[in-house]
Structures are given as structure tokens and as C-alpha cells.
Symmetry: D2
Subunit: 472 residues, 4 copies
């Protein structure tokens, strides 16, 4: 395939080549492309499809490319001022240049289509584990805040209006829980990303009886043989992974909305780490949460990009189409933006401090306890809750019309105003907070272990692939 | 809450009420709303929060609503010419009307926010199982075709150009596999849809120590206590479910593209069931695959709807906002359209027949075996594959220029032209087809059992909820 | 075409027919379909392509369908329990049933493809004018509020933080202006919606030399002959119209965010019409702006629907594909939702009242005048603005640290605290408000006239089409 | 504002700064930022708000930045290893560094918010004109092909099935027309992009009575004073411009689908320029239209990006929020991708050649003339068209069953088979092609002139801004 460009270089037009080449954004895939090629060469060698003499130098070159994270090949490209369609063409060309004789054998039993399908899985799988790790950091930060503010009264809004008061721990636990749930959902993708598409040829399989077991062992792939049109044509694994990311980011976007909102409605109720705020020395009351604004926007952008991916994907026939190449670029952009965004949230959460006094001051004239008190009375007196409801509602209306303090109502139903927060702290869910936090920590530890185990096993494959290569 | 409307009916404006009410599309939720209320009433009774005397008649009314799938309540609404914000307001109002005295007690320990969160989970969980069942039908149809056309030569395209030939079984197995993978991913949502949000009040929990165990048992929910702001505010479960659906439909959309494409490129290669074709008696060569065109469009529509959901969701603070109500409507539209679309594909696949002769005729002048032959020679002669490649390429060029038959090339490398398909049928992946089909059937049977077991357990809860109700 | 279904009715399956028929949502197009057919019949008659004897009864039937807004035909369908693919098949079938002999002639020189293209333009054009009229109402409401609150101090936020204070008029003028600009942009679509696709056949033109001038005159279309593949295959006019609508709604969505935000941050600063608020008698501090929440969500939904349209559209080859039918349904949903949403905003704006005291109280401890004062001093003293900036910034910091009133700073630079609002009211843009309002009213009047003129001319065509029909 | 970063540099974290800075993608805005600042400085000078002595050196520096397209300032940043939030902070800091004394005055009467609003308009306006020019090239290419293939029979598809035959000119004219229509729609944005937001301060106007006339003259802006909250907070002009672009690209995406489709269905019917094809020497029948596949995908990506923009935009309150900064980046990405994509289409169209023989061969056994013949007979014999329809349909069925040539049918109705194309070429629309082409050329010339005139007037402003600057 290198041939085409080398031969016809004169015929081509730069703006057309620039339009279709993926070489620049393939940079992040270079290491994986070399890994897949290395596993392939070893499988060829195992099957006797390549003369032993050639193998070692090819292996050495590929190991170097892997160890330099692709740098070696991109330097070579730059020095030679060459142009390639993609990293696959570049690698084959590179091996022709560096290795005498053997390069002519390596195209056996493979195609760009099955190799790129394998490379994307490796890239996505590593990205998945980075995201899973980052999310564990964020969940940890949330749980720490839940412990720290276990008894701090916090406002809970519905319809952007104060609805109830409760412990701040419930706020942090809510987000930790939603992340925990989606975290688990994300992990299910590990299997899908470990399917082995090699041996699928361009669309309907290779002639060569490659040992799928060897290939899978070197790349930590499953042993199952895949239908080749699926293996080369489907990018469902990319879609499902972006879906998982978008789902998590949607929750985080709402957290950004919460924090921006509270920052406006009850200034200083939450103190944010200074690096995330743009203050104005001329308007000291301004505390713009710029990173959260950007985060909110970047998440919208990711949603759009994910939409681009579906739109590209759904309208092309099965099998490889070059449209899929654009999906790779978009997918990598999503991964970058998503990981940076999760880091921002972790840093924000770690650094926030809640000022309960500001909150208590804010809720002073707002009966955020009204529904609690209604239930309390109804239970205590065994009265129909609706009846109590109307009674308290009437009192609240009178209070408001006469400009009286809300404490009067509490006193009227036999609650000492300074006891209202204790009443709330004894609600079933509040009493349960300790257990919730403990349970969440327990799950978090299991989750950490799960990622650690997977990472170790992947590293094991990698070591075998690279080091074993010298012993062939 | 009914009060508001009854009292102020004069003040309201019809077009505003119409704008915000969900009563019409809540119709599909009515049964679930009654189920949740029924479980709630039983839990209240268990806790002694409602006088025993009232319980039986409330239970009877709710069981009736459940058994008529909500019809009973909607008839009542129509007869009374009443307007409600939503089904929750309607049910409470209905019970006030039908049951003396007791209705005043039922609002204890609940809010619309935790009830709607429970109702949506029940609705979504049932929808999930319907979709899982329908997908099993589709997968079954695909496997049947894979068996039926196990040895039928079929064209595999890349870039909308013929790339390789292989058994048609590989085509059907590819789609069955991708559906099988996403099927499994979908099932993971069952747990998330079985979380129990009851007891969460409006945002931060109820005062009433309801027995979560009782509630969960009646509704087949998990026992875990959820952070209430998550329980009432998150709709991550809806997003993840639409993501799963969109992912599956994206694959089906590509199948539609395949079939439309092949129908154009090799007319009659695939014979479609007549109900799916709009023929024109005046243009008998026209065979418009109208259902697949609609399917393609409906899937695009679902992608847009799912995008609507994310867009609504990501930009509102946590806790309940009425924006979430719009998501319900959209979600239900997606479910309807998705199930209808899956049915269409199942019916198409069941009915198609492949005409191998048309395909063989089509590929006659197209060397879809060229890469296979190159690999075959390279292996047989232990030559560098690139060298063989250039040799065959040159011969193909000559053939084309001299207008010679492709068979000449095959003969030139020692392959009897009528033997080329046997060569292909002996490719590793082709030989493996039998095992693939067997394996796929095995998985399918397990999957069927999985759904059956879940459905039985859900039915068990339902029976207990409804029938037990008479014995309270 | 009716034939197909009548003949093969036994062969068909209900769920497939339901999947592809557009008859239900064609209801809104029925009138236009009859109008186009009526113009067509007159053109046929003019060209001598249909015997005079038959014309009158066909015309009468079609006029009836038009006058009953399609009801007549839908009643007939219901009575006969017939099923049709779409309204075009229904109309032809209806005429066969009602009119002896003549119906066989009307299919000459037309196809469903050019007729539906004409019908959609008529529908969209009427919808455009309704939206333009509704927007004029909204702009009027905004201008009235601008006049009413010309001197009322209002908070202007950036980054959801108070940035400057100014007259409330500037708030209303900002939205009026953005609507005015997009209003003008929308009007440019009128020409595109008045292109005449008739005579284009299915894809490449009819054999029949229809008088395009007659057709255009009856339907208020332009005289230009269109390339038929464009005429039948392009739906660019639908895309551009939804684009225009989405653009306007995006601005309104931000207005909803403003109002929801101010309602939370400065309660009662804006008093909203009671019909748009869901208050809670138990939480009297809650004033949920439910219509604006729904509006925000519906706009997100429209964005998603519009995205569906593009996604459907961009991936099909030119010429008619049934995918386009789905676009019709989505387009009509967008129109309905958009017009209802604009009405909601108009009603909200008309009903709001601003309480300046609440605002002045809110800004009391926030120097929303700080940048104004800096500029004022810099100008007055001819000092570098940055120097003044640092001076005031330092004073603000001191003030804040010592807990002193902000008025001290004003006094320090020689401004009487009670004079600060006058200073602001004398800013160049504030002084200009009167002119802005006058200018905006002037434009509004011109715009009203423009719509009125267009509506009159369209009504003229309609009258000629319908009434003239009796005199043929 | 530079101060913040210089002072607190130690406190900041790199990953946070990288997350929020726009400096990198502001590169394309640098020139415009300098232009706006230059106009501002001149206006300040005109008003006597800055000592004359300082003006000249500031002006010189800004002119240099403009002339080097921003390079000068980015080099300076690199040399000093400085970090900035954005180009506006950088420019002010740069002037402090380069110009003694005067820089302290320039912040008067401006804010980042009104300046960025002006800069974006200038950038977008230039981009608009580039796109308009590129589209003129594409339209020209289409018209040339329409002339070249005015009498070449071409297949017109509906439902991806051959529907009618006609001159290829009609194909090219269809796309030229749709582009012509959207071209005109795009031009309407020129006015919106020429609104002058300067003087609007951060949100509610500046204290300084800047001469808006001077500012507008230097920047080719309109004279109208804008409501400042609109001026600084609205990005409707960006949305509408991307809408226009997306609309055009949607049509081009369909053209890509056409060409890919025809390339598959009737190989070699259209010969594509070699640079746009990836051939495979081993599969000489493969002619992958890779640039069109990428174009199709890039357009889907742009649709997603445009969706990102709406999603970001619609959910933030009015006034400046940093979310808007992300929109800038996305907008610039869209512009780049859109212009490259339009160029690709122009190059493809210019280079294609149609082989009529291949087409005639393809349609030989497909009665693409059937509807034309039906209409022809019906007219000639004054028979009901439905009657003729059934007659021909029956004959076609017989033909097909008996394997007879279609010519038999033509002969049966008195048409010489070799005369059928003449019959078609005499259809009304075919006869009209000459006029269509002439009309289209006429419009194209006017459009070219329109762009030329605008560009000249903009260049005039620029010259005055830059050169006049030396004479101050």
C-alpha cells in the first residue's frame, strides 16, 4: 500500500492527501499498531510462515517503536519527509526500510482492517482503565467529603428552589453512588474490548491458519473466534464506551450546575479552591467558577461528538468504510476531554469546604423542614397527613402575612426551634448515613482491586510480548 | 395537590395546562403508579400508619386500576371531565373520590418525586425485558439463516465495493454476534432498574421509617437504601437504557444499509418478503424496500430523541426538575419506536431468501478471491506475500486490458476455476462456521433462560402484590 | 397505487402497514394535498388533458375537502374502514369513489413526489407565517415591558454572578433585538417556500407540458421552473426552517434560564403570573416556574428532533426516499411544540412585574457599579484607567475586610451614594434607550405590515383557487 | 487581568490553566483582536481619552500584530514563556511590555466581553466570505458539467432504485440550484455579522461616550447602537452561520451518497479523478472513493459539533459565560472542516467524466422510460392515464415472464426503440435546460459581483484602519 503514494506522489494533491490521512492523530495508536504487528509476526513465525532469520530484526524494530511510544517511527517519517495514509502504511514502509528482506512476508494473514480493529480495542481498553482509575479518585474524594460533612446541614433543591434540608453527606453520597453504578456498568466493557478480531482479513477471513491462541495471549485478548465481518466492520465497542462516558459526564455536568447554582444563590456556602475561581479585584463579590463553566461546555461538546460518531456509524453499510477512520479521531478527542474533565471535578471536590453558618442563615426564613414536620406530626398524632398538611400550610400563610418568625409554627406544634435540626438528623435516611458511607468504601475498595488486577494481567501480556520477543 | 387545580380552575388557562400536563402520556405509567402506591399502602399498613379499616377498600381500588392497565382511572377522569397535572395527582384524587376517609393517610412517607422514580424503573424494566425478548427472536432468525445458508457464497463489501467472497453464514453470524454482545450489555441494566428509590421523599428522605424490605419485595426491587437525592434526581438509568438501545439500533441501521445496498447492486440476489417491498407495476424493476427505509429514518429519529434526553438532562441541577417529565415522554417514544423497529427486522430476516446464482453471476468478472489466492500461493510456495501480490496484480491488469477471463489467472497459478469456491470454503474461518453456529445457539438458549427466570421472578412479585392484597 | 393495498390486502401484515403509513400524521397536510390536486386539475383542464365534463365534480369534491380542512376525507376513510399509505393515495381513491369516470385522468403529469414537495412547502409556509405572527406578539410584549421598566434598576449577570446594574429596559430590548434579527432571517425563507416543484414527475420531469404559470398563480408559487431532481428530492427548505426556529428557541431557552435563575437568586424580584407557577402551600417559599422548566426541556427536545432531521437527511442519496416521510412527521412535531412554546413565553412576559426594591436590596452589598465608577473617575481625572482600577480595588478589599459599607468608597471619590443610580442612568447607552425603543417599535410595525401583506396575497390565491373553481 | 496570573502563578496548577485557557485556538483571532483594539484606541484618541503622545507607539505595535497575522504576539509569548487566559489578556500585557505609559489608558470604555463579541463577528464575516467564494467555485464547476453533459442520458434514482432517465445536466443543475438557494440565504448573515457590539462594556454598557461611528467605520460595522446584554451575551450569529453551513453540507453529503452509490451500482458510469480514488492493484475492480467517504464522515462530525454549540448555548443564562469560549473553538473547527470539504467536492466535480455508454447498457433491461411512455400515450390518445398505466404494466409483466426485450413494448405503442431517448429529450423540462443553464450563469455572475463588492468594501475599511493609523 505504501507503493501507491510513493509511485504516484507527483499525481497527488496535497490538500486531498491532508484531507484523508490519519497519520497525525494515529500518533496515539502507533504503540498499539506496533504491538499488534509484533504479535502477528510471532504468530507467523510460530506457523512457519516467515523465515526464522528475518524475525529477530523485525521484532527488535517493533519493540523499539513500542518502547518509544511510537516516537521512533514518527521521527523517521519526519526525517524522510514522507507522507502516509496512516500508521499501518507507515509501519510496513518503516520495516521495509529498516529490515532487509523480511518485511515482504509480514503482510500475510492480515489486513489493515483487522489490525486497526485490534489496535482500537487495545487503545480503548487502556483508556477505559485510565478512566476507571480516575473515577475511583473522584469517588474517593466524594466519600471523604461525605465523612467530613456527615452532620453539616445542607440545602437540597428541586425546581431550583429549596425543598428540604439534610446532611451534606447525602449530597456527596448521591454523586458517589451514581458514579459507582456507572463505574460498574463501564467495567462490563472490558470483555467487549478484549475480543480478538485478528485473522479476519479485510472482511471475510484470511487463508492463513494463524494460531488465534498465541495472538490472544500476547495481546490479552479472548480466545473466541469472531465472525470476520463483525470483527472488521463493527465499532459497537467504541459507541458503547462513549455512551458510558457520556452517561457519567452527564451526571457530572449536573454537579457543575449544582455548584454554580449554589455559588450564586448562597454565596460562600461552599468555598471553592482558588485555582478554580476567577475573581475580579474590582468586583470582589464575583467568584466565577470558570473551570466548572468550561467543564459544562466541554461535556456538551462531548455529547455532540458522541452524536457525530453515531451519525457517522449508523448510515454506512457493514464492513470497513473510511468513514470509520473519522470515528477514531473523534473517539480520541472524547477520551482526552473526558479524562481532563474528570480530573477537574476531582480537584474541585477535594478542595471545597462547606460553611454551615451561611447555609443556616440562608434557610432561616425558609421552612425547608415543613414537609418533615408535617410527617412528624401526622405520625405522632396518627392523623391523616393531608389534614396536618392543611393545618401547617395555613399557619405558614399567616406567618408570612403577619411577618412573624417561622419558629412560632414549630413552637405551636411542640417543637423547640433549636431542636429542628436534631429532628431532621434522626430521619431514617440520616441515621443510615454511617452504613451508607461504610458500604460505599467497601465497594470502592473492591473496585480498586478489580482495576488493579486487570492492569496487572494486561501488563503481564505486554511484558511477555516485548521481552519474549528477544528470545524467539 | 389536586386541590390546586380544583380550587383555581377558573384562574388557569387551558393552553398553559396543556403545556405542562403529562396525563396523556402517563397512560402507560398508570399501572405502575398504582402498583407503587399499592406497595406503599401495604408498607404504611405494616407500620401502623394507616387505620386497618381503610386499607381494604384502597387496596381493592388500586388492584382494579392495575388489572385494567390504568383504564379504570382514565375512564373516571373522562367521565368527570377533570384535568390533572399527572397520573399521581389523578390517583390520589381518585382514591379520595372512591374511598371514604382513608385517602388522607396515603400521602405519608412519600412524594411524587420518589414515586415517579420508582414507577419509571418499573416501566423501564418491563420494557427492557420486552426488548431483550424481541432481540432473542431476531437473533434466532439470524442463526436460522446462518444455518440455512451455511455454504452459500455471499459478497462481502468494504467501501461499498466488493472485497471478498465467503459463506452467507458469516454475514448472519456477524449480526447475531453483535446483537449477542449488546444483549448481554443490556442485561446489566436490570440491576440498576431494580434499585428502590422509595422513602426518599422529595429530595432528602422521609420522616417515616417505612420498611424498605416490604416495599422491595412487592416490587422486586433491591434491598439497598439509596441516597435520596440520587434516588429522586438521577435518571441515569433512563440514559443508559437508551444508550443500549441506540447502540443496538445503530447496528441494525447498518444492516438496513446493507440490504438496501445489495438490493440495488445485485438485484434479486436477496429476495425480500413481499410485505416489505413497494413494487411498481409500471416499473417492475423497482423493488423499494420501504420498511427498511422507514427503519433507517426511525433509527435516526431515535438517535435525535436520545440526544434530546441528554441535552435536557445534563443542564439541570440535581434533584427533581419538571424538565425530567419531558424525558419520560421521549423515553416512551423511544421504547415504542425501537420495539416496532426490531420487529420489522425480525420479520425481514425471517422472510429473506438468497439466490446464490445471482451472486455468482455478479462476481464472475470481479476477482473477489484475489487476496485469498495471493495468500494461498504465498503459503504454498513460502514466498514473500508482497512478491506474490505484485505478480497477481500484474496478471489482473493484463487480463483487464486484454479483456481475458479471470479464470486464466487461476489456471496460471494452478487453481481450477471451478475449484475456487472450495478453496474459499476451506479457509480457517469457514471451517469454523459449524462451531460458531453451535456456540451461538448455546448462548442463545442461556440467554432465553435468563430472561425467562427474571420474568418469572417479576411475575411472582406482582402476584404477591396483587393477590396478597385481598388477604390484608 | 391504491390498487396495491386493495388487491393484496390479505397478504399484508398490520404491524408492517402501521410502521410505514403516514396517514395519521398526514391529517395536517390533507387540506394542502387537496389544494395542490385542485390546482393540478385546473391546469390539466386548461391544457385540455381532461374532458370538461368530469372537471366540475372533481373540483367540487376537492373544494369540500379543503373547506373541511381534510375532515371530509378522513371521515370517509373511517366509514369505509380503509387503509392507505398516505393522504395522496387516499385522495385519489376518494375521487375514484365519488366521481364517475374523471378520476382516471388526474394522475397525468404528476407524481406523489412532486405533489408532496408542493404540499410540504404550503404547509411550511403557513407555519412560517404563524410563527412570524406569534413572534411579533412576543416582541410586542417585550417592548411594552421595556417601556414600562425604562428606569427600573435591574441586575445584569455574567458567569451567573452580578456584573453590572442598568435599566431593566436594556434586558427586554436585548431579547427583542435578538428576536427582531432572527425574525428578519426567518422571513427570507418565504421565497424558498414559494418555489414551485410541480411538473417534476417522480425525479426527472413529466411528459406533460403543464402551464407552470397557472399552477403557481393558484398556489402563490414563484414562476421559476426548478430542476426536477432538486424539486422532488431536496428538503433543504425544511432544514433551514427548523434551523431558524431552533436559533430563536435557543435564545428563548436562555431567557428561561435567566428567569429561573433570578427567581432563585433574588426571590420576588420578578413577580410571575400565577398560572406559570406551581406553588406549594406547605412550602410557601417555593415558586416553581414549571412552564419555563417545560419550555427549556421542550426546546432541548426540538434541538434533538432537528438533529434527527439532519441525520435522516444527510445520509440518503438524492431523489425521493421514504426516509423523507419521517422528516415530515418530525417537522410537524417541531412546529407544534415551537408555536406552543413561543406562546408560553409571550404569556409569561406579558404577566411579569418587576419589584425594584427587592433588586436594590439585593445589590446593596454588591458593588455592581464598580466598573462604572472606575471609568467615571478615569475620565473625569484623565487618569489611566488601570491606575484608578487598582485604587478602587484596594478600597473595596479594605471595605470588605473591615465590614464597612460600600457607600464609603463612593463618598471617597466624591459620589453621593444616593446619586449612584443617576450616574448609571446617564451612561451613553442608558440615554439612548428612548431611541432604541422607538426604533424597535418602528421596525415592529414594518414587520407586522410585511406579514399582513404576505398573508393577504396568500389568501388571495386561495380564494381564487377555491371560488374560481366553481366557474370553470 | 494579566495581573492575576503573574501574581499568583505559583498558586495555579498547570492542568487547570490548560483546561481553561483559549490562547492556543485564539491564534486565528489574534489579528482581529488587534484590529478591534486599534479601532478602540483611535476612538479613545478621538474622544481625548488618551494622551496623544502615547497613541502612535500603541498604534504601531497593533498594526504590526495585524500585519503578521498575530505571529508577532505569539512569538513574544513564546520567548517570554508566559501563560495567558486568552488573546485579550495577552495583547494588553504585550502593550504594557512594549509601550511605555500608554497601555494603562486603553482599558477604558471596553471589556473583554464586548471586544470578543466584535472579534468573533470579524472572524466569522471573513469566514463567511471565504465560504461564499468557495461555493461559487463549486457552483461554477457544476454548471460547467451541466453544459458539458447537457444531452447525456443519466439515471435518476428514487428509493435507491432507478426511476427515470434524463439528461445529466438535470443532475448538476439540481445541486447547483440548491447551492444557489442556500448561498443566497447565507449572504443574509452579512448584516448580522456587521453589527457593532463595542461600547457594551461587560454586560450593561460603558460610561465612556465612545464615537460608535468611528468604531464602525474602521471595522466596517453598522452604525446601530445595540442593547449591550445582547451585544455581549448573544452568539446567535454563530449559530445561524453554522446552521447555514450545515444545511449546505447536508446537500453535499447527499451528493457524496449519490456518487458512492452510482460508483457501486454502475461501475465506470462516472469516472472519478484518480486522486480521489484508492484503487487496489490486487482488486482492480475496487475503486474506493475515499475522499467522499471522509467527506461524508466529516459532515456528520460537523453536524455533531453544531449540535454541541446549541447544547452549550441553550442552557446558559444570558450575558457572558465562559462556556461561550468553547463555542469559539468549535466554531473555528467547523469552519476549517467545512471549507476543506467544499474544496474536495469542487475538485471531484471538476474532474468527473460521464460515460454514457455504460449508462445506456445499464438501463437496457430497465424500463426507466415507462412512466414517460404512459403519459405520452395518454396524452396522444386522450385516454385516462390510469387505463394506459394498466395496459403498459400488463405488457411489462408479460415481457418479463417471457424473457422478451423491452423494445417490444415500445414498438407495440408505436415508438421506435432507438427513438425513446429523443422522446425523453423533448420533455418540457429537458427543452427548458438551456434556459436553466443560462439563468443559473446569470445568477452566478451577480453573486460573484456581490461577494467582490463586499470584499472590496471590507478591504477599504481595513486599509483605512491600518494606514490611517500612521497619520494620527
Amino acid at each position: 500500500m505504501t507503493i501507491r503514494y510513493r509511485t504516484f506522489l507527483g499525481d497527488s494533491k496535497n490538500f486531498i492527501e491532508n484531507y484523508t490521512t490519519s497519520l497525525e492523530f494515529d500518533r496515539k495508536l502507533a504503540k498499539y499498531a506496533a504491538m499488534v504487528m509484533l504479535a502477528h509476526v510471532k504468530a507467523l513465525e510460530g506457523g512457519g510462515y516467515i523465515p526464522k532469520d528475518y524475525v529477530q530484526s523485525i521484532v527488535n524494530e517493533l519493540v523499539d517503536v513500542i518502547k518509544t511510544d511510537g516516537e521512533k517511527i514518527y521521527k523517521w517519517i519526519e526525517e524522510r519527509k514522507m507522507r502516509f495514509e496512516d500508521i499501518f502504511e507507515a509501519i510496513e514502509s518503516y520495516l521495509y526500510d529498516r529490515v532487509d528482506g523480511g518485511a515482504g512476508y509480514i503482510a500475510l494473514g492480515r489486513s489493515r482492517n483487522d489490525h486497526v480493529a485490534a489496535v482500537l480495542r487495545l487503545y480503548a481498553r487502556d483508556a477505559l482503565h485510565i478512566i476507571l482509575s480516575n473515577l475511583i479518585d473522584l469517588r474517593k474524594a466524594l466519600l471523604e467529603k461525605a465523612s467530613e460533612y456527615r452532620n453539616t446541614i445542607f440545602p437540597f433543591f428541586t425546581h431550583q428552589q429549596l425543598a428540604q434540608c439534610g446532611s451534606a453527606a447525602l449530597y456527596f453520597l448521591s454523586y458517589e453512588h451514581t458514579l459507582s453504578v456507572s463505574w460498574r456498568h463501564l467495567t462490563h466493557l472490558h470483555d467487549m474490548l478484549s475480543e480478538n478480531p485478528l485473522g479476519s482479513g479485510a472482511a471475510a477471513g484470511t487463508m492463513v491458519p494463524l494460531d488465534i491462541g498465541v495472538l490472544s495471549r500476547y495481546l490479552c485478548f479472548n480466545q473466541e473466534v469472531l465472525p470476520p465481518y463483525y470483527a472488521t466492520g463493527s465499532r459497537q465497542f467504541l459507541l458503547l464506551m462513549t455512551f458510558g462516558i457520556v452517561s457519567i459526564l452527564s451526571e457530572l455536568s449536573r454537579m457543575a450546575e449544582d455548584l454554580l447554582f449554589i455559588n450564586s444563590v448562597i454565596p460562600y456556602a461552599i468555598e471553592f479552591p482558588v485555582e478554580h475561581i476567577a475573581t475580579s479585584s474590582i468586583m470582589p463579590h464575583k467568584r466565577n467558577l470558570v473551570t466548572l463553566e468550561i467543564a459544562r461546555a466541554k461535556i456538551s461538546n462531548i455529547v455532540g461528538l458522541h452524536n457525530s460518531m453515531i451519525s457517522i456509524y449508523k448510515s454506512i453499510p457493514y464492513g470497513y468504510n473510511l468513514d470509520l477512520q473519522e470515528m477514531n479521531r473523534i473517539f480520541m478527542d472524547i477520551i482526552n476531554s473526558a479524562t481532563a474533565t474528570i480530573e477537574i471535578f476531582t480537584d474541585v471536590i477535594r478542595g471545597i469546604r462547606i460553611d454551615e453558618n451561611r447555609i443556616l442563615k440562608y434557610v432561616e426564613d425558609k421552612p425547608c423542614w415543613s414537609s418533615d414536620v408535617v410527617e412528624y406530626i401526622a405520625m405522632k398524632k396518627s392523623r391523616p397527613v393531608r389534614e396536618v398538611y392543611y393545618q401547617i400550610a395555613k399557619q405558614l400563610k399567616n406567618c408570612s402575612q403577619n411577618g412573624e418568625a417561622l419558629s412560632k409554627i414549630l413552637l405551636g406544634v411542640g417543637i423547640q426551634p433549636n431542636n429542628i435540626w436534631n429532628l431532621i438528623r434522626n430521619k431514617p435516611v440520616e441515621v443510615y448515613i454511617k452504613k451508607m458511607i461504610e458500604g460505599a468504601w467497601r465497594v470502592l475498595e473492591e473496585d480498586k482491586k478489580l482495576v488493579r488486577d486487570i492492569l496487572e494481567s494486561i501488563e503481564g501480556c505486554r511484558v511477555e510480548l516485548i521481552s519474549g520477543s528477544n528470545k524467539v
